[in-house]
């Protein structure tokens, strides 16, 4: 019953669009980053659904990459550079 997958896909797309509004609206940088995280997680779900719907098993690997790299952007976002000195 691919209809179920399609319904889930549509629901996740809706969730992604809601997150998109927050990304566009802000107001704080933290809000946008948070919404980008939501888009990433939603994207993971959508990729897995697409992987089954389109018969592309490789998309599961894409989802795995997205899941692993989700934290990198957040870490770069909040990282504090040393003011002076060497590293």
């Amino acid at each position: 019953m691919p209809e179920l997958l399609l319904v889930c896909l549509a629901g996740l797309m809706l969730s992604l669009l809601l997150g998109l509004i927050r990304v566009l609206r802000g107001p704080e940088a933290g809000d946008r980053m948070m919404a980008a995280q939501l888009i990433g997680t939603t994207g993971v779900g959508m990729l897995l659904l697409l992987s089954l719907l389109l018969g592309q098993p490789a998309l599961a690997d894409v989802a795995l990459i997205l899941a692993l790299l989700a934290a990198v952007a957040a870490a770069a976002f909040s990282g504090q550079q040393r003011e002076t000195g060497n590293d």
Binding site: L16, L24, G43, L47, L66, A75, N86
Partner: protein, 333 residues
């Protein structure tokens, strides 16, 4: 699954991409623009997946959504907003457009230039759409795709994308690796590397302790899977580089790169070097440049890809450092 069922998805993806692209371009604040760009990369990954291009989706997920976001965020942090005013006097740094904004004449001309460019881009987009429609309606049979699948058996791998990248058009990939090397040498030419990050707290350290090994494993998996499914040296290199970036962000000093400059040079050069060496060995054996014997092709491609992954990862990490490594004496602290 037939195409009409997914039409809603395509339309919404296009809307999301366009609005994110516009917001990224028009954002006044650099950090905001970067975050919007990260979101754009995420949605673009979905678009590539929907276009049945998992190889590109993989690269976009690793490089577009993950690494370049981190790279740009680090660059923005290096030039925070409050530092801009002091930088107007500081002539030692790369100057950006903002410096000119104080002059009203320049401002007017920059607005004019912006509008001209916008109109130019819109015209360009229409020309492209028109010509693409013409091209797609001309119904040329894709002879290249046919000859790729006809010769796939002799390429040593079963993933057509890898066969094109590392066998049929291996020369392009060799030159692309040279482009990456040039990019990193160009970064070295500009400045010394940026100062590092403050040591991470316990939560971040916990993240690092499992994420770095997981990323390294993932890189190995992508490298291996590239022979028969989407994956390969570029995606694997980007994943490996993400491990380095995370270590750097956590305040670790050497981020897995060797301290000695000569070792660093070796890992920078090994990708293009080994590739070239394999090509020239074929020449010595009396075959054309980069003409692998079919029986050996699979192994040679894996060897080249492994070396390429190392160089690509090192290149991306060094790009993240934003300059040439400091001398050993400077590292004493």
């Amino acid at each position: 699954m037939n195409a009409t069922n997914m039409l809603f998805l395509d339309i919404l993806l296009v809307i999301a991409l366009l609005s994110l692209a516009w917001a990224t371009l028009t954002a006044t604040d650099a950090r905001r623009s970067v975050i919007l760009f990260i979101a754009f990369g995420l949605v673009l990954t979905l678009a590539w997946a929907r276009l049945l291009a998992p190889d590109v989706a993989l690269a976009e997920a690793a490089i577009g959504a993950g690494l370049s976001g981190a790279l740009l965020l680090a660059a923005v942090q290096h030039h925070p907003r409050r530092a801009l005013s002091s930088e107007r006097q500081n002539t030692g740094k790369l100057a950006n457009e903002k410096q000119n904004d104080s002059n009203p004449a320049d401002l007017k001309s920059s607005v004019a230039i912006r509008w001209t460019l916008t109109l130019f881009c819109i015209a360009l987009a229409f020309v492209l759409i028109w010509a693409l429609l013409q091209a797609l309606s001309s119904e040329t049979s894709d002879t290249l795709a046919q000859s790729v699948s006809a010769n796939l058996a002799n390429s040593g791998v079963s993933n057509p994308v890898t066969a094109v990248l590392l066998n049929f058009r291996a020369y392009d990939t060799l030159l692309e690796l040279a482009v990456l090397l040039t990019a990193v040498l160009g970064i070295f030419a500009l400045s010394e590397q940026r100062t590092g990050y403050l040591p991470a707290g316990p939560v971040f350290n916990g993240l690092v302790s499992w994420l770095v090994p997981a990323l390294i494993l993932m890189a190995g998996y992508l490298l291996w899977v590239g022979a028969h499914a989407p994956g390969g040296a570029f995606q694997a290199g980007a994943t490996l580089a993400a491990a380095g970036v995370i270590l750097r962000l956590a305040g670790k000093r050497n981020i897995g790169l060797p301290v000695s400059k000569s070792y660093l040079n070796i890992i920078l050069v090994i990708g293009s070097g080994l590739f070239l060496l394999v090509g020239l060995t074929m020449l010595a054996l009396g075959r054309p440049f980069l003409d692998y014997p079919p029986a050996m092709a699979g192994y040679l491609i894996l060897l080249i890809e492994t070396a390429a992954m190392i160089s690509i990862a090192a290149t991306l990490i060094l790009a993240f450092l934003g300059g040439r490594p400091r001398n050993r004496e400077d590292r004493s602290c």
